[in-house]
Amino acid sequence: MVESNPRRRPETTNEFMARRNREVAARSRGEAAAHDAYGTATRSGWNPHLPTTDDVLAFGARLNRNRFAVGAAGALGQVAGFDRGVRRGAVHMAEDLWDGTKLVARLTDPYDALRSAPGQSAAQQVFSAGKSAVGDGLNYVRRAVADPTVVAKDLNRAGRKLRRDLDPTATPTAKTALGEFTRRSDIAANQGELAFNVGAAALGAPEIKVFGGVVRGTKAAKYAKYIKQGRMPELAEYLSEPYVGDGAHYISKKFFKENFGDGPVVRRIRDSSLNVSIPRDITRGDFYEHHFRTDPRMYGARLPNWSNPRGWSGKRLGLEKFGPVGRAVLGAPDALQSTVGGGLGGVGWTIGDLQAGEDER
């Protein structure tokens, strides 16, 4: 597919409108395999300088399967990923600390039960979370009694997963440089987060994570939050599910379409993790809040037909949008933060979550 290049000659309005119609019509067509290598690179945060399509093709052919390049890419991935993991650990620790602080404040507030909706006081939420955990535990014990091999199988499975997540030798080296970069980067990120948590544990931080876990880590907590917003139980359940979708574009699709077209390479870059923000482990409900705050033209979303109300509205929840600075810092995808502004971005995201927490109260 030939892409238009507006920089060669200013595009006329008729040409622009015709191009947009062609691009919309072509969206569903398969993308060229030759661009896979470039897409992998942008998703993983490695940004080789490849300004033209020819460069991408040459890069893919020459470098991607070179065994020395594969080794070098693995080493690069290790360095980049470890740093990302440490930052991820710090952000999660800050989230846990904030959640824990709020929980303790409410637990020690004698009027919390009076101010909370029925069943929503801090003490009752802790009790519910504990009851749910105990219930899960009892079910597991019953299954284990019925079939003792369950425990051994689960331990084996958990051990294998842990090793795959943390040990580069547990999985084969990728055949391509970009694949190896991605593999080692992901493993190193897990190592980095583990290292941060081990370091934090030595300083007495596990309590923070325990308190945070009660509030943040359970689906029950998210469910309780949506119930508190006045959602019916089925809808609270729906909003508590993990978000799966296109995410929030840091640089808008509109900007890309108008300036660079909508071809496969552009889409690869536009929809890469460097430009699309989907915060880790985020629920549908929290993602809509994140998108509402960081995108001036996102107002809400339609919900499934069975839902009442039919749509999610940030305005009705009384949410406020971030200003330009807040959007620039807090709307940045994780991968972009890792690549260009990790420290600032990580702090920004933490501040954003703290602000979001304040608004929920």
């Binding site: 006329t12 309005t13 008729n14 622009f16 409108m17 947009r20 119609n21 919309v24 019509a25 969206r27 979708g245 296109d246 699709k253 509109k254 108008e258 809509y288 998108h291 001036p296 033209r297 996102m298 107002y299 809400g300 979303a301 339609r302 919900l303 499934p304 037909n305 069975w306 109300p309 039919r310 749509g311 999610w312 509205s313 305005k315 009705r316 406020e320 949008k321």
Partner: protein
């Protein structure tokens, strides 16, 4: 001339453009509204592109006249709260003339929505829709 670029409205359109599978939304509604707005613009000499689905973000399309291009986005939430966002594509020259065409497009849309019984309660807002802004019945003012 100042324009109010965003419309908040109520709409009663067929919902065959909202598609679900196994309880998951695979296409968000809004295409029918976008098609109706595009037809309104077409009737007054604007050319338009085919509306494009952008997930929960809504449906987007472009309108153009006299070499001025306008981006439009329809986002449906429910029967009472739906949004039309618009933005003029920036150019290098004659911004004032471009804004006149942009304002004309908004007036065409406003008149079309008033004439179409499927749209009700249309209020035009400024770009950022600050909290407390009630909205206006007309999209432009001197």
């Amino acid at each position: 001339m100042k324009v109010r670029s965003t419309a908040l409205f109520q709409a009663q359109f067929p919902e065959d453009d909202h598609i679900e599978e196994d309880g998951e939304i695979i296409q968000f509604g809004g295409r029918n509204v976008a098609d109706a707005l595009a037809a309104t613009l077409n009737s007054q000499g604007f050319t338009t592109t085919k509306p494009e689905h952008e997930g929960h973000y809504g449906w987007t399309f472009y309108a153009a006249k006299h070499k001025v291009e306008i981006w439009l986005k329809v986002q449906l939430i429910d029967d009472t709260e739906n949004y039309l966002s618009t933005e003029m594509r920036e150019g290098l020259f004659s911004r004032e003339k471009r804004r006149e065409v942009y304002a004309e497009a908004l007036r065409v849309l406003s008149a079309g929505m008033k004439a179409d019984a499927r749209f009700t309660g249309v209020l035009w807002h400024t770009d950022r829709m600050p909290r407390g802004e009630v909205g206006w019945t007309e999209p432009d003012h001197p």
